[in-house]
Structures are given as structure tokens and as C-alpha cells.
């Protein structure tokens, strides 16, 4: 029979005292929604993207720093971003038509090779766009957003970067040194991981604008800086289209024909998640053969969502000794209708 110990990760059983006790370090890991910094947008106000043809000024999300008496040990209060949400109060969120490019300013970390359509990476509060690799956003760092309206007039938007915020400086830790050590070790693990792994969105190197029933080949280059692990596909387009992806160098395909936007591609709210992720080595190029199926001019915004791995391949002889594969053939999906990647730490 399940007990509170099994279902509540915030408490633990003390067998000596025969009582439940709170796990303090978990109570200092709180949900948090981060929006634009007040330096750019007054609190509660929307950000206005000007009409198509004009670029919006860069706008930022700043991860604040907080501490008490230096108890944070210079770790501040970092945020593990787990999903992205937006609202377009002018055009309507479902019809939002603007592009976005994100980079982290301090580290000049790029999250995409080119701007992507907002509805391929940002979801809604009802269906947030889950990051398959959370992003650990360190205090006093800033994310810069460049928005551009694709068509139509100016629009007002809001965003939220949702996740878990760590508070290693809570004064109650003075009475709980083990809990303090636990939360600090988690943060340090994140700090290690974020050096090597980062969320990434890959799109075609150039914009896709097809004539009626036309076919075009568009390349998406994985930069030389890291490997790209693709978890699935999202797209926004004027009309239906078909897509065939192959790797240019090896000619390896991941489909025996052409999928369509309807049967093989999702959007940020309902992404098409691969049964197995697709690892594309650094410097490789994907060729996307895209055909319009709508019979009218078609603007296609394709986004391949995943993560960038800034870490080299190991030799096969090394890894066979290090790791054992797991078998998934017998696993059913009844209990996991949406195969989501749990937070790795």
C-alpha cells in the first residue's frame, strides 16, 4: 500500500523518531515564471512587436540575483527553465505570426541557427512547450530575444519561461547543513551539465517560400561547435506540405518517403516526438526536401527541436566497456502517453 513516503517527495520517514520530516532542500526549489525584465518592459505590460518590415528592439529576460548575508556561496538563485509559454493579445495566440531568435548574452550562447516561428517553440499555459533538455539559467545572466513580425501589423506579446528556481541561501539551511550540501551539489551538477548540453532549435539555413505545388531543397547545417540531438519536429506553414529529411554527407534518411505536416509534424503545443532521438554529428548538414501540397504559395517554418552537445564522441571500444544498453522493446506506453524527458538532475 502506498504511503506518503511514496507519493510526496517533500517529506521523508525518520525511522528512529517514527515521524515524517520535511526534506528542506526540496522546499527551496520553487516554481517560477520568468518574463521580460522591467528594464525593457514595465511590469505587467506587454512587449510590442512593430508591424512587418521593421525589427523590434532586442528585449531581455534577466535572471535576478538574491541572497542573504552571502549564504548563497556565490550561487545566487538559478532557474532551471523547463517550458516556454507565450501570449499574443493582439493577433491571438493561436494565430500569432512572428519569428523569434534567442541568445544568452554573457556567454554568447546561441540557441538556434536562425530565427524560428514562435508557434514552433513557445506553447500556451494549457499546453506549454516542454524543453526536452532544461536550460539552467544562472543568476545575473540575460537572455536576449529578437522578435520580427512576419506579416501584418504591430502586435502585443507576453512570455513566460517556467521552471524551478533554486534558493541555496535560505537561512533555514543553517540548521540543516546536509540539506544545504544537497541543494548545492545539485546546482553544481547543473553548472557542470550546462557547459556541455544546451537546448537547441535547428531550422533551415534560409527561409522556405514555395510556389504552388513547388518543391525545394533546403539545408540545415549543424554548426561545428557541437553535435545536435533532435527529439522531434514542429512547423507552422501557410498550407500543407510534405517533407523528407536526409543527411547530406552519409545520405542517411530517417523516412522511406515524405511525411506531411498533418501526419508527421506537430507544433510547439503538440510536437511530433520521435520514438528515438536523432543524433547528427557536428558539421553535418540535413537536407530538407519540402513540397507544397496546398496548391498555393506556401511559407514553411520548420523547426527541429533538440539539444546541442558540446562534448566529443568516445571510441566504441571505450563505451562498450562503460555502458550497457537498455531494452525498450517490452515497454508499453500506457503509463507514459507523452514520452517526456524527465529533468536529468
Amino acid at each position: 500500500m502506498a504511503t506518503l513516503r511514496d507519493i510526496d517527495k517533500y517529506i521523508e520517514w525518520d525511522p528512529a523518531m517514527r515521524i515524517y520530516k520535511p526534506i528542506f532542500w526540496r522546499r527551496n526549489l520553487l516554481p517560477y515564471q520568468l518574463g521580460f525584465t522591467e528594464n525593457d518592459v514595465p511590469f505587467g505590460a506587454p512587449f510590442t512587436i512593430p508591424a512587418a518590415g521593421a525589427n523590434a528592439p532586442p528585449v531581455h529576460c534577466l535572471q535576478q540575483y538574491s541572497s542573504v548575508e552571502g549564504l548563497d556561496g556565490n550561487l545566487g538563485n538559478p532557474l532551471a527553465i523547463q517550458n516556454l509559454v507565450f501570449e499574443d493579445s493582439t493577433d491571438g495566440t493561436a494565430n500569432a505570426d512572428f519569428a523569434v531568435r534567442i541568445k544568452e548574452m554573457g556567454e554568447v550562447r546561441e540557441f538556434m541557427n536562425r530565427e524560428v516561428h514562435v508557434r514552433t517553440i513557445f506553447g500556451t499555459a494549457q499546453q506549454p512547450a516542454m524543453l526536452r533538455e532544461p536550460y539552467f539559467f544562472v543568476s545575473q545572466h540575460a537572455l536576449q530575444f529578437n522578435f520580427r513580425k512576419i506579416a501584418g501589423g504591430a502586435t502585443n506579446i507576453r512570455i513566460a519561461l517556467n521552471g524551478a528556481q533554486y534558493y541555496p541561501w535560505d537561512p533555514t539551511f543553517m540548521l540543516k547543513p546536509q540539506d544545504k550540501q544537497e541543494i548545492v551539489s545539485r546546482i553544481e551538477a547543473w553548472l557542470h551539465r550546462r557547459r556541455y548540453v544546451s537546448p537547441y532549435w535547428l531550422t533551415t539555413d534560409t527561409e522556405v517560400n514555395l510556389g504552388a505545388n513547388a518543391t525545394g531543397n533546403f539545408q540545415a547545417k549543424v554548426g561545428d561547435d557541437g553535435h545536435f540531438e533532435m527529439f522531434g519536429l514542429t512547423a507552422v506553414a501557410t498550407g500543407n506540405f510534405s517533407l523528407s529529411i536526409s543527411e547530406v554527407k552519409t545520405k542517411q534518411t530517417i523516412m522511406n518517403g515524405a511525411i506531411t505536416q498533418v501526419n508527421g509534424i506537430g507544433n510547439a503545443r503538440f510536437p511530433n516526438i520521435f520514438f528515438r532521438s536523432y543524433l547528427v554529428p557536428a558539421g553535418y548538414r540535413l537536407n530538407c526536401e519540402i513540397t507544397d501540397l496546398s496548391g498555393a504559395p506556401n511559407a514553411v517554418w520548420l523547426t527541429m527541436f533538440g539539444r546541442k552537445l558540446f562534448v566529443p564522441f568516445r571510441r566504441l571500444e571505450e563505451v562498450t566497456a562503460l555502458t550497457k544498453p537498455v531494452v525498450t522493446g517490452v515497454k508499453t506506453f500506457v503509463d507514459t502517453p507523452t514520452p517526456m524527458v524527465p529533468a536529468p538532475i
Binding site: L309, P312, L316, V319
Partner: protein, 292 residues
């Protein structure tokens, strides 16, 4: 299918590298063989049998089903193995009960492992009354035979042997469809085949109207499947127990229906009009005796 983690982590948690075996372990969209990615279905009739072939690169493990179509249709699938065909359903099912969309595919309760150079055979029967086109997409993983890792190859061999012991399976009414008279009650049957036990995982439906009540009874046991076992006379509203391929109703725990058993499905219309119901029980067939 064997699977390895992409990132190699040391026991300390330090990220030590990327596993090169992941280069031989790919996602794959398995489609009807080109140039038939879209299968033409004549109005009110059936399409030709169309092959979905796993090429010689390596075996495939199908995990989910999605589709695009112009109009309503039914779908029938079987595995072709040499001269033998092994069905994956008792009758053709409505496509909207087992094939979802790219955004919300239907995740199979049991993945379907298919060796290289084997085929699935699929065909469609139009229900829309006009010329129809259907494109299916089976979300899969691909294991390239080029890969040379003895441990993974050993696991693959085990799965190869296992593929005849458990496969995804779908049951619909023995007659294929149930038509409930306006305001009336209809009892239809579903008979589990003689080859496999059936483990029921999901219920999906397409109906003229969801305003009907339903009860499913395991005839041999005299037990209800969807209400307290003894309440065989009580029906529940279809809307609380039947989903769609995109959002199937999933049983909290699967239910085993033994080989050759019969289910009675009792339906009462509440819409006041004739109600055509395509019900699909999704799950897996568990082989009673190895057939090869």
C-alpha cells in the same frame, strides 16, 4: 529494441562523452512504399494492397501511428512474412480509432518489431463516398545492421525471437460495424481469435453521435469490463469511456481476455437517430503457442 543513452556519464555525474552507437540507432518514419506515400482509395471501395517495406538497412520498431486523409475510411493491416500473413486486427477498423495525427499520434500499447526486408501490408476502404487519399506515417526506431556491438546484437536477437510472441492487435465488432436503431438497443459481439490472447489497453470510437450508452461483457466470465464486475446490466455513457486515436481512453491496468473468448457489447442510443458505431479495442496479442 536496444537503446543506449546519448551522453556517457561517469558515476560522479561528470559528462564523459557521446556514445557513437547512437549513430546506428535512428528515428524513422515508416510510410507506404514510394511512390505510394498517398494511397488512392476509390469511392466506396477498397484500395489495392499496399506494402510498407522495411529496407535492408536494419530492423524497425514501430511505436506510434499517424495519418492524413481526405475523407473517412477503414484500414486493415497485416504483417507479410514470405507466404504467410499475420493479421494485426480481426476486421478493418475505422482509421480514426487507431491512427492519430502528427501532433497526437496513437502510441501502440505494444511496439511492433519488424525485421529488415519484411513488409506490412495495408489497405483502406472508403466510407466517404468520394475518391479518397490516405497517407499513413508509422513513427519508429531504426537499428542499422551495420552496427557492430555484440551486446546490442544479442538483445536484438532476443527481440527478433520475441516478435512472434507479442504484437499490437486491434479488435472491432465481428461484423465490422454496429448500427444502433434510433433510441433502441443493439448487442454486437467481439470474438477473440484462436491464435492469441488479447490484452486490452485502449478503447477508441468513431460514431455518428456519442449520445449512446455502452456495456462490454466478458461472456465466459459473466463480468463487465467497464463497470463493477457484477453490474452487467448497467451501461455507462460512451463519452466517459471511449476516446479517439488522438486521445485514446486508457485502462488503468490492462485486461486479459483469453483466447477464443467472446465479448458482448450492448449499446443503447440516446441521440434519437440511427447511430453508426465503429468501436476499436486496442491492445496486444499474446501468442498462446509459438507458430514457427
Amino acid at each position: 529494441m536496444p537503446r543506449v543513452e546519448t551522453l556517457i556519464q561517469e558515476p560522479s555525474g561528470k559528462i564523459a562523452g557521446v556514445d557513437p552507437r547512437r549513430l546506428y540507432d535512428l528515428p524513422f518514419a515508416l510510410l507506404t512504399n514510394p511512390p505510394n506515400n498517398f494511397v488512392a482509395v476509390p469511392a466506396n471501395s477498397s484500395s489495392p494492397l499496399t506494402a510498407i517495406t522495411v529496407s535492408g538497412e536494419g530492423p524497425c520498431e514501430i511505436a506510434n501511428l499517424a495519418h492524413e486523409k481526405l475523407g473517412e475510411c477503414r484500414v486493415s493491416m497485416q504483417i507479410q512474412d514470405g507466404e504467410t500473413q499475420r493479421g494485426l486486427m480481426n476486421r478493418a477498423c475505422h482509421i480514426d480509432t487507431i491512427f492519430g495525427s502528427g501532433q497526437q499520434p496513437y502510441w501502440l500499447p505494444e511496439s511492433l518489431y519488424i525485421d529488415e526486408l519484411r513488409s506490412l501490408i495495408i489497405n483502406f476502404t472508403d466510407l466517404s463516398g468520394v475518391a479518397n487519399q490516405v497517407a499513413v506515417n508509422m513513427g519508429a526506431a531504426r537499428y542499422l545492421a551495420l552496427q557492430v556491438d555484440p551486446y546490442m546484437e544479442g538483445i536484438r536477437k532476443r527481440l527478433e525471437e520475441r516478435q512472434y510472441m507479442a504484437t499490437p492487435y486491434f479488435y472491432t465488432f465481428d461484423p465490422g460495424v454496429a448500427v444502433i436503431p434510433a433510441g433502441g438497443t443493439l448487442t454486437s459481439t467481439i470474438t477473440v481469435g484462436q491464435r492469441d490472447h488479447f490484452q486490452l489497453h485502449t478503447l477508441t470510437v468513431v460514431a455518428t453521435s456519442m449520445a449512446f450508452d455502452i456495456q462490454i461483457i466478458d461472456v465466459a466470465r459473466g463480468e463487465s469490463l467497464i463497470d463493477a464486475p457484477n453490474n452487467t446490466t448497467r451501461q455507462v455513457a460512451a463519452g466517459v469511456i471511449l476516446g479517439s486515436a488522438n486521445f485514446p481512453y486508457k485502462f488503468h491496468t490492462p485486461r486479459l481476455i483469453n483466447i477464443g473468448q467472446k465479448l458482448d457489447v450492448i449499446m443503447t442510443d440516446r441521440s434519437g437517430a440511427q447511430n453508426t458505431v465503429y468501436l476499436t479495442l486496442g491492445g496486444r496479442g499474446i501468442t498462446d503457442k509459438m507458430w514457427r
